[in-house]
């Protein structure tokens, strides 16, 4: 009997698990793919908190977007591609109109989902990551690598190196190594850096680090032998902190290390303590710190005890990035509502909103992001929208901005984008849209 009851209970549980919950009508569903466990949790947690808090702020302060409440559900991917695909399948159909867009927060998951999202007509926002060739919206209608791709990042990094050593002509004969996470994420910048190496005549060496990146002894030995002038770090999670510590162990100067914008947050440097002082990284426009929008977050979210993060960590680099990411998604929905009406929208409609998103300085100020972002304008042929960055340096207590704004040189990145996206279109039989006819 007991066994029968157990079986019955299990059956009821599983049927409850499979039944779709009743959805309220005036809600826009937004899935959050996050990772709060595993080797990448140190970076995944603050980011996910920033995303969750911003959606919460929209609901608490404004009552949603023009009255359409945001319905949010998180799913843990652990940065694993198969789990990410499972999460996507789990969440894509929820809410009255399905997922508005998806942020996979992993380049590997982005690759796996690119085709699926196109079939399902759900935009995939990969802010500052994802596949660089998807900047070409004519081929990748549903991919939005907003604010900067890895090819833009590579170009910005080389611009900064050139500035530090006194000009692009000085790059000739210099040695630049790329210490990268051996996954699609880390490999993305390589073709761009190869192009730049050929153009400026520096010697480029890619050095792979196996997932998750806690074992880097041999890589740093190679760096010590080769003595590169600069080491670019394309790491994530524990790999970043380990790289800084290993650099200290082989006495490689930290101020000759430049991390990508995913290798420049507090959790990447704090474990190394004083050894991290001098380490530099790119900024995906924004840095750490509090801005007007944070006051609202504290007033409407944390004061009402609905915050996701420890209050002390609000304003960290990755927290802010999560917020920016959520904000761009929300603004895209708002833009799409102008055209399709103030109701829950489908992914296809939100895609239109993303493609026509145009945030001016005034609008950014209105949103409380002044000082974090430069204007962004997305179009059919440019799904990146902006390609600006700065460089920051860790002084032991906080990140200090040490450079002016750089803008990635499109004449460098564009031929590669055309080539690689064209190859994808041919391989996948995608007929590129005519961007002059899109509105």
């Amino acid at each position: 009997m007991v066994r029968n009851k157990l079986i019955l209970a299990a059956a009821m549980l599983s049927s409850a698990a499979l039944a779709a919950p009743a959805a309220a009508q005036n809600e826009q569903f937004i899935p959050i793919l996050s990772y709060r466990t595993g080797a990448y949790a140190v970076n995944g947690v603050p980011y996910a908190n920033g995303v969750a808090d911003y959606y919460n702020l929209i609901n608490e302060r404004d009552g949603g977007i023009n009255g359409v409440k945001l319905l949010v559900e998180e799913c843990e991917t652990g940065y694993a591609t198969d789990k990410g695909v499972e999460c996507y399948e789990r969440l894509k159909g929820k809410g009255p109109t399905g997922a508005a867009f998806i942020n996979p927060l992993s380049t590997g998951i982005t690759f796996a989902l690119t085709e699926k999202t196109t079939t399902d007509k759900i935009p995939i926002i990969t802010m500052g990551y994802g596949r660089a060739d998807s900047k070409n919206g004519a081929v990748f209608a549903y991919n939005f690598p907003l604010l900067g791709t890895y090819w833009s990042a590579a170009d910005i990094a080389i611009q900064h190196v050139a500035k530090e050593i006194g000009g692009f002509d000085k790059l000739k004969g210099k040695k630049i190594s790329l210490l990268y996470h051996d996954s699609p994420y880390g490999k993305e910048p390589i073709p761009m850096l190869q192009v730049l190496a050929k153009k400026y005549g520096f010697e480029f060496t890619p050095i792979p680090v196996t997932h998750p990146g806690v074992e880097q002894k041999s890589q740093w030995l190679a760096i010590r032998q080769n003595r590169p002038d600069y080491v670019l770090v394309w790491g994530w999670g524990v790999m970043n902190g380990t790289a800084v510590k290993e650099a200290a162990a082989v006495a490689y100067p930290r101020d000759k290390m430049i991390g990508v914008w995913w290798s420049g947050a507090e959790p990447d440097v704090t474990p190394a303590g004083d050894q991290a002082v001098g380490y530099k990284s790119l900024m995906l426009q924004h840095g750490a710190g509090k801005f007007p929008v944070h006051a609202d977050i504290e007033k409407y979210v944390y004061a009402r005890d609905k915050g996701a993060s420890e209050p002390g960590k609000v304003g960290e680099v990755l927290y802010n990035r999560g917020m920016v990411n959520a904000m761009l998604g929300v603004e895209a929905i708002r833009k799409a509502q102008e055209k399709f009406g103030k109701k829950p929208l489908t992914g296809e409609q939100v895609r239109w909103g993303l493609e026509n998103l145009n945030l001016s300085d005034a609008r950014i100020k209105e949103l409380g992001f002044e000082g974090m972002l430069k204007p962004i304008r997305i179009s059919c042929s440019d799904h990146e929208g902006a390609r600006d960055g700065r460089v920051q340096q860790w002084d032991g207590k906080g990140w200090k901005v040490i450079s002016d704004w750089y803008t990635a040189n499109q004449s460098e990145t564009e031929p590669l984008v055309e080539e690689v996206s064209g190859k994808y279109a041919a391989e996948k039989n995608v007929k590129p849209r005519d961007c002059s006819k899109e509105s």
Binding site: S14, A19, E74, E76, A112, E115, E188
Partner: protein, 375 residues
């Protein structure tokens, strides 16, 4: 009372040697196949619960079928022939990447000899099967050490295969057609002019594959070859003395097992993932498959299915339950709970029944025969 074979007389050798000698088993299997081949696609076509979204097909049934196929492959090697292998993920990867190369066209420039080997892109079905063949060849190569070393030492040798192929597919750009990111896309799934795109079509495709391979595997292990494998597993010296050649038995086990795993790998890449990187076939995958076989039951085709279901689906269910019941837990707590409960379940199961689900099922059958008075 229902499950009793009294009165089912077998009058020919063929009947006696049938795969399923008991009528009730045949009926049960027929119903199961009917549900799988007709019921599920019908429900899914008309979006009837629980198929009102694509989730169940895409994210549960599809990976379940493919991993069950891989588990059958592992079971042949580990369960039937007793050769512990930690390289299953690598053989899946070989199947996947070989199928990818064959499906997109192979070009090997041989500058020294002044010519190049070029194979035009093959259709999907031959590339998947040839992918399996490549895995079989690699399996034979890495099976050679098994003639000299046994048990844990063999496990370490197969582990070498795992790391070697991880490295090859990460570092040799030829295998990924020089994709800048190292991530490759499967070619379009065309079978004899039919495009396989929707989840239902993909599900049916995998179902056909697994049905064919499960029947083949079941017949193999019942036959001469399977008996040789089991003899080697139970005591290799005794097997040798009664005239079984260990070289032949062990290498065929490696070949058949790797072939099936390779086909499963190609399906995993082509049908389920669509776009993948070597991490999809990491050591974690090898261990996952080994656990499926151990939990499901060593030396049982049926056990491979149950094991795959347990290892793959249970964590997802555990993860889904709190949200669906509306228990306010954060995703990290749910994930940690999932690990704790799942881990404890494995421990409990292995203590209670070290021979896995397959043994539980056969005990159940025995009890059913005696029902309502089991002793």
């Amino acid at each position: 009372m229902l499950y009793r074979e009294a009165g089912q007389f077998k009058t020919t050798y063929a009947e006696d040697m049938a795969i399923f000698p008991i009528r009730q088993d045949r009926i049960a299997l027929g119903i199961l196949l009917g549900i799988a081949f007709v019921g599920v696609p019908l429900l899914a076509t008309f979006h009837i619960w629980p198929f009102n979204s694509e989730y169940l097909l895409w994210a549960i049934l599809l990976p379940f079928l493919i991993l069950a196929l891989a588990a059958i492959g592992v079971n042949i090697l580990v369960g039937y022939c007793g050769q512990i292998s930690l390289g299953s993920g690598a053989f899946m990867a070989i199947g996947a990447y070989s199928a990818y190369k064959l499906g997109t066209g192979v070009h090997i420039p041989l500058a020294w000899f002044g010519f190049a080997i070029s194979i035009p892109p093959l259709p999907v079905l031959p590339s998947i099967l040839l992918g399996g063949l490549m895995a079989a060849i690699a399996g034979i190569l890495f099976g050679i050490p098994s003639l000299r070393i046994k048990g844990l030492y063999l496990a370490v040798a197969t582990l070498a295969a795992q790391f070697f192929f991880d490295w090859v597919f990460l570092r040799v750009p030829w295998f990924t057609n020089y994709a800048p990111s190292g991530s490759v896309n499967a070619p379009r799934l065309d079978f004899f002019g039919l495009a396989v795109n929707t989840p239902i079509e993909r599900y049916l495709l995998c179902l056909i594959f697994i049905t064919v391979f499960a029947v083949l595997a079941k017949n193999l292990v019942r036959g001469n070859l399977g008996r040789q494998w089991m003899a080697i597993r139970d005591m290799d010296i005794a097997a040798e003395l009664i005239g079984i050649r260990p070289l032949y038995a062990k290498l065929t086990a490696f070949a058949v097992s790797s072939f099936i795993i390779g086909v499963a790998g190609a399906l995993w890449a082509f049908v389920y993932l669509g776009s993948w990187e070597p991490l999809a076939f990491s050591i974690d995958r090898s261990l996952q498959l080994l656990f499926m076989v151990i939990i499901g039951g060593l030396g049982s085709i049926m056990g491979s299915f149950v094991g795959a279901a347990f290892i793959l689906i249970l964590p997802i269910m555990l993860n889904l339950i709190p949200t669906q019941l509306g228990v306010p837990l954060s995703t990290e707590t749910i994930t940690h709970l999932e690990f704790i409960i799942f881990g404890s379940l494995i421990c409990y199961l292995l203590i209670k029944e070290p021979h896995g689900f397959a043994r539980l099922i056969s005990i159940g059958k025995e009890k059913l025969r005696l029902w309502p008075f089991p002793y």
